[in-house]
Assembly symmetry: C2
Homo-oligomer: 331 residues x 2
DNA sequence: CTGAAAGCGCTAACAC
DNA sequence: GTGTTAGCGCTTTCAG
């Protein structure tokens, strides 16, 4: 049971003033070598650790940022978080983690606690997110960068992948080759992403004088998309099916097998979000390598720049992807 | 650009003392209704949000806990984190997230910043972790609970699943049925878990007058276990193979197919850690449902109890698992 | 190069 | 009920 030891104790032990102790723990240059040593020894001896809370109060800076992610995200968002964390470490920022579930009520709670916590900035990785919510942050002068949505202004940065373009380019090739029966599977967990896909798809069809028709919505009464897709695929065939997440792609693949649909010969399949599980499926499923890690890393890097008051920086950063063709698509 | 507004501003606006404002924001009962209203209005008008940092300083309490997880963990640890977070929310705790990569140096850094951050407690979910490291926390009177390791004392709680017992029970059945050629696949990412499995396995063999021999180590020169397993399975056959993670099980399954080994008839396969991908494989792979979410939730709950100074509580809590037999095992 | 003192924003006795 | 005041632990002028 040790007493809480403060800067005063160190000062007394080293027989200097607390100001001097403060100087050495902050690496101030002006301190004489021998007194620095004296203080260091006192610090060692007492096992003193500066109180970051008190420092935060005095400096009006917490060296902490808030990270907001959707609750279930950890499965398919791990790399984004890792990237974020890695650069946060470099710049010595702490991360306080917040997760959102459903409903605007909760989001407001989170915003509230974030503001109270006086973090230096916030990174938001959230599919659903209203402009108004963001405004609350900016109203309190909190720099914020959002991941995944193209959306920025004075005090908001954003890093994202243009899914509309991705799918536009991809599908255009198919349309030109005369493959028009293309379906996109809804993803309840990522509505905004799929919305982008849908738009890209529509545009591609339009630009080819066609109309996109096969958007597969999962009825609410189905607990999982797998169950619905089983039903659906008994009745419908497509030339190309597109899903957003790996588990959906695998569901399609499995039900296709069950229905005697040969992938890729009877039907091609592509999953937008690549994952290691795509390569483990048989046949291996084609996907797009999204730079998850970089999205997180760049988001954090952008935030640090904003915090350093760096002017003339891009507030909107688009990252690109790489198509990884495997065995579920032809050529 | 708004001025930082403090409790003083509110006091002035409402024409009361700051003590009164403090009382209303802390829900003190002794405040008269009309002055409470007056203060609330001032708070609204000014958009005042109490500074949690200052509160923390004054109260010697941050209502924040540190969570330490291995860097790559987000893939297969998501549920643990979700459980943790959910109960943290209930008790209004914030979570500051730390990840460990490699080497003791880094771990010491993390410990250092955690102590400086003056969190109220810490939850550690880390496979590798020395006793000494934990002692640093206890030396600074930080309550801590570890997830996954059985390991506790005065100021350390732990919640875990007994993998040794799990595998002991499971394998004993096989041994009794005369199935002795059983192999366990190493998992570099989870050495401590696999160590437990190995011990349980050894014991089961011993208790049946046999000796466990087939521990499959992945040579360091192989980047992924998949590559090595491909080699390995060309030369070796087993009656039952056990892996820890889903991706390893899927690797085994795939290479088995390539080698013409029929699962489960030629060889059975079980993956300790269940995941949705196990059900997506064909044949579906048997696994054990580990209560991930509960592990996290219980860890956090335990910590709150410790923080409340609750005596007479279990500091060591074992959770159990459920075997989910699927198509990769017989009966 | 070092010390004294005034904050940083809030809480909690202690008075009135 | 409400106000006064002394901390909480640290940083940062400003003197010396």
């Amino acid at each position: 049971m040790m007493k809480r030891i403060t800067i005063y104790d160190v000062a007394k032990e080293a027989d200097v003033s607390l100001a001097t102790v403060s100087r050495v723990i902050n690496g101030s240059e002006v301190v004489r070598e021998d007194t620095r040593v004296k203080v260091q020894e006192a610090i060692e001896k007492l096992g003193y650790k500066p109180n970051a809370i008190a420092q935060g109060l005095a400096l009006q800076k917490t060296t902490t940022i808030a990270l907001v992610v959707p609750e279930a995200s950890f499965f398919y968002t791990g790399q984004v978080i890792n990237g974020l964390i890695d650069v946060a470490k470099i710049y010595k920022y702490n991360i306080v983690l917040h997760t959102t579930t459903e409903g605007i009520i909760e989001m407001n709670d989170i915003i509230e606690t974030i503001i109270k916590s006086r973090v230096d900035g916030v990174v938001i990785f959230n599919d659903k997110l209203t402009r108004e919510e963001l405004n609350t942050f900016t109203h309190y002068q909190l720099p914020i960068v959002v991941i995944g949505n193209r959306l920025s202004d004075e005090s908001i940065g954003s890093v994202y992948v243009d899914y509309a373009k991705l799918i536009y380019d991809f599908v255009s090739g198919y349309l030109k080759r005369g493959i028009h029966d293309i379906a996109l599977v809804e993803d309840r967990k990522n509505p905004a992403m799929v919305k982008q896909l849908k738009e890209g798809l529509k545009k591609a069809f339009q630009d080819n004088g066609l109309q996109f028709e096969h958007y597969i919505e999962i009825p609410k009464e189905y607990r999982s998309s797998y169950l619905y897709l089983q039903e659906y695929m008994k009745q419908h065939r497509h030339q190309l099916m597109i899903t957003y997440r790996d588990s959906q792609a695998m569901a399609v693949l499995n039900t296709a097998k069950e229905c005697g649909i040969d992938v890729p010969n009877d039907m091609e399949l592509v999953c937008v979000l690549d994952s290691k599980y795509l390569s483990m499926a048989r046949p291996q499923i084609s996907g797009f390598k999204i730079p998850d890690y970089d999205l997180g890393a760049l988001a954090m890097r952008t935030l640090t720049k904003m915090l350093d008051g760096e002017e003339s920086m891009d507030k909107e950063m688009e990252l690109s992807y790489i198509y990884a063709p495997r065995k579920s698509t032809i050529q």
